[in-house]
């Protein structure tokens, strides 16, 4: 039994290391003063962060990412939340099929979707525009919103809404005073996931974005392909810190509402 538990600890530690170490390795390199992404780090500097800000290729990409991810979040959260509310209806015909359709964008390989979107958007005359990128990102962000809002709505006791109605609240009052506040944590995490999805999206962007819509992820992708510049590590640092901040914000919101 002792050997067993020792084996368990060693194994678990190894795998935790495997899962976490790569992320820990990247972070310090964001502060290297050298020109290569290698250890040992010659000295620490913010050189590559300034590169992100000052080099227009990077700064433009960051702005694009913020703009596109922000718009995607709005579109996906709005459509996804409405749909999750609609899916709640009792006796909805084809409800499981509709739900499956809403989740499929998560499943379909991005390259296939990208090929189709590019062909269609070219036909519409909207390819290589902000609109095409936002639409494409929204399509794959929507499942996350639907899942997380549906989850939150599923946690609401219908009797609470009935109670509100019996106390004299009209349907729209029930919605705004009871249903929506209670679903808010789900909406918020859906929005955060939508933002993160858009921020990290590369494949669809390759197909539907033009040179003017180059996002941070897209820029990282091509930099990784061409020359591994330490700007990558700085950009990764920005993304990791951004993600952690969003996660903390969510946690805080959930704490408050619980």
């Amino acid at each position: 039994m002792m050997a067993m538990s020792l084996f368990k600890s060693v194994y678990a530690t190894l795998i935790v290391g495997f899962l976490v170490a790569p992320l820990l390795v990247v972070l310090p390199l964001a502060f290297t003063s050298g020109a290569f992404l290698t250890y040992p780090i010659p000295s620490y500097s913010f050189r590559w962060f300034s590169e992100l800000v000052e080099n227009t290729v990077w700064s433009r990409a960051i702005l694009n990412s913020l703009l596109i991810a922000g718009s995607t979040t709005v579109v996906a959260t709005l459509l996804g939340t409405l749909a999750a509310l609609g899916l709640r209806a009792r006796n909805l015909v084809l409800s499981s099929q509709i739900r499956t359709l809403f989740l499929l964008p998560m499943v379909v390989p991005a390259v296939v979707l990208g090929v189709g979107m590019q062909a269609l958007f070219v036909r519409f005359g909207i390819n290589s525009t902000y609109l095409s990128v936002i639409v494409a990102h929204s399509v794959i962000a929507i499942p996350f919103v639907v899942i997380s809002v549906s989850g939150a709505l599923g946690g609401i006791d219908r009797r609470v809404e009935r109670a509100a109605e019996s106390l004299g609240a009209r349907p729209h009052k029930v919605f705004f005073l009871v249903t929506l506040p209670l679903a808010m944590p789900g909406v918020a995490s859906g929005a955060a996931l939508a933002f993160a999805t858009s921020l990290d999206e590369v494949v669809l962007t390759l197909f539907v974005a033009g040179p003017n819509q180059r996002t941070l992820a897209r820029q990282m992708f091509s930099t990784l392909r061409e020359n591994i510049s330490p700007a990558i590590a700085s950009a990764a640092f920005v993304i990791i810190v951004g993600t952690i901040l969003v996660a903390l914000l969510l946690l805080l919101m959930r704490r408050r509402s619980a």
């Binding site: 795998i15 296939v112 399509v139």
Partner: protein, 388 residues
């Protein structure tokens, strides 16, 4: 109120249904249509295509068909497109190249010329047959080519000559790589999930957090991290060389090893989480119960815990495999030329060589594979009793 409910549901669902119909379903339909469409002949020879449809395939088509053909030749102003048509027809019936060149200049001179007078090949049924065969705007040629198949001269499906196409190789490579990644995830993930489910408190939080953290972190960042670690002067090679184990850097990147390692890292959470959540529903004292009934721990594990976690294992395996076959970024960045998977090839056909139909045909195969796997996964996750 109560009667208005379906109406309201429709109003709520409507926007997303329309949105996904336009920007998700339609693109996929476009892919499917593209994969079977071959408009090059029917677009240029559209009158001929319409007229020759009724020809019974014996002798020579009627004067109207021939007139339509001449009209098409006269009307066409795009030499590139006509070249395309000629190439296509020549592939079906050799001799078309010289015949078409001759015919086009003759017809352009005299739009009413009798075709038989230009060349007596126009009295040969086989040439007209080639036009009729290629007149349809639909073709299975791309789908067949995606599997390294083609139609031979008599129209039967046959294997392409050795070395002319690598699509089947790539398809097999994709399945193989995805299989290896799935196997690695299973071997690493199953014990990990069992350990995570068996401990309590902070230990469990750490184990779960380690799985969730990569899931929350950008895929690109994780792939970049592996590139930094595995490169020739990355920390692994530096460490090994520093220790004197090796004198030349090991090739860890731009090969299959790098792809499998990074994909395993990226997809491991999808294996661990389903198994973990199934194990959580297993009562904690079940192993004790088995032990009290006289089962040796190993035996109890094999007979009790493993069967109970089976559902999670199946879900995880399907999820990982499904995600792996469609992967693009990781193989594209960490793989060499001979490690490219289906997605990379599709992207190459679409953006690199602008062969849309070929990209769509390969895409359709990938799409169908993925959807089948997803349907199985969906079935299993929805019907817990049947899956047991």
């Amino acid at each position: 109120m109560i009667k208005a409910a379906p109406m309201r549901a429709l109003l709520l669902l409507g926007p997303l249904l329309v949105f996904l119909g336009l920007f998700f379903v339609w693109p996929l339909v476009t892919v499917i249509a593209q994969s079977v469409s071959d408009p090059s002949v029917s677009r240029v020879l559209n009158r001929t295509a319409a007229a020759i449809d009724g020809w019974d395939g014996t002798g020579v088509p009627s004067a109207e068909v021939q007139a339509a053909f001449r009209a098409d030749v006269v009307a066409n102003t795009d030499d590139m497109a006509m070249g395309d048509v000629t190439r296509r027809l020549n592939a079906t019936k050799s001799g078309f190249r010289s015949l078409m060149g001759k015919t086009v200049s003759a017809v352009k001179e005299d739009p009413d010329i009798d075709l038989a007078r230009i060349d007596d090949r126009w009295t040969d049924t086989a040439y007209w047959q080639a036009i009729q065969d290629n007149a349809s705007p639909y073709t299975d040629a791309f789908l067949l080519a995606a599997l390294d198949l083609e139609r031979d001269k008599s129209g039967n499906i046959a294997a392409m000559p050795e070395g002319t196409s690598a699509n089947a190789t790539i398809l097999l490579r994709t399945l193989w790589t995805a299989g290896v990644v799935t196997f690695c995830c299973l071997v690493i993930g199953l014990p990990y999930a069992m350990i995570a489910a068996s401990v309590q408190g902070w230990k469990r939080s750490v184990l779960l957090g380690a799985v969730l953290l990569p899931l929350w972190t950008s895929l690109l960042v994780r792939t970049a991290a592996w590139m930094i670690i595995l490169q020739d002067n990355g920390i692994i090679n530096q460490a090994l060389m520093g220790l004197g184990v090796i004198s030349q850097p090991l090739a860890l990147i731009y090969n299959r090893f790098g792809v499998v390692l990074a994909m395993t890292h990226v997809l491991l959470p999808f294996m661990v989480l389903p198994i973990y959540s199934v194990l959580l529903t297993v009562p904690g004292n079940l192993m004790n119960a088995a032990a009290s009934l006289g089962a040796h721990p190993v035996r109890a594990f094999l007979r009790v815990l493993l069967p109970l976690s089976f559902r999670g294992v199946v879900s995880g395996t399907l999820l990982v495999f499904m995600a792996a076959i469609g992967y693009y970024i990781t193989p594209a960045l960490l793989g060499g030329a001979s490690d490219q998977m289906l997605s990379s090839v599709i992207a190459f056909y679409a953006t690199g060589s602008a062969n849309w139909s070929m990209a769509a045909a390969l895409g359709l195969i990938l799409l169908v594979l993925t959807l089948i796997l997803y349907a199985v996964y969906n079935r299993l996750s929805r019907d817990p009793v049947e899956a047991r």
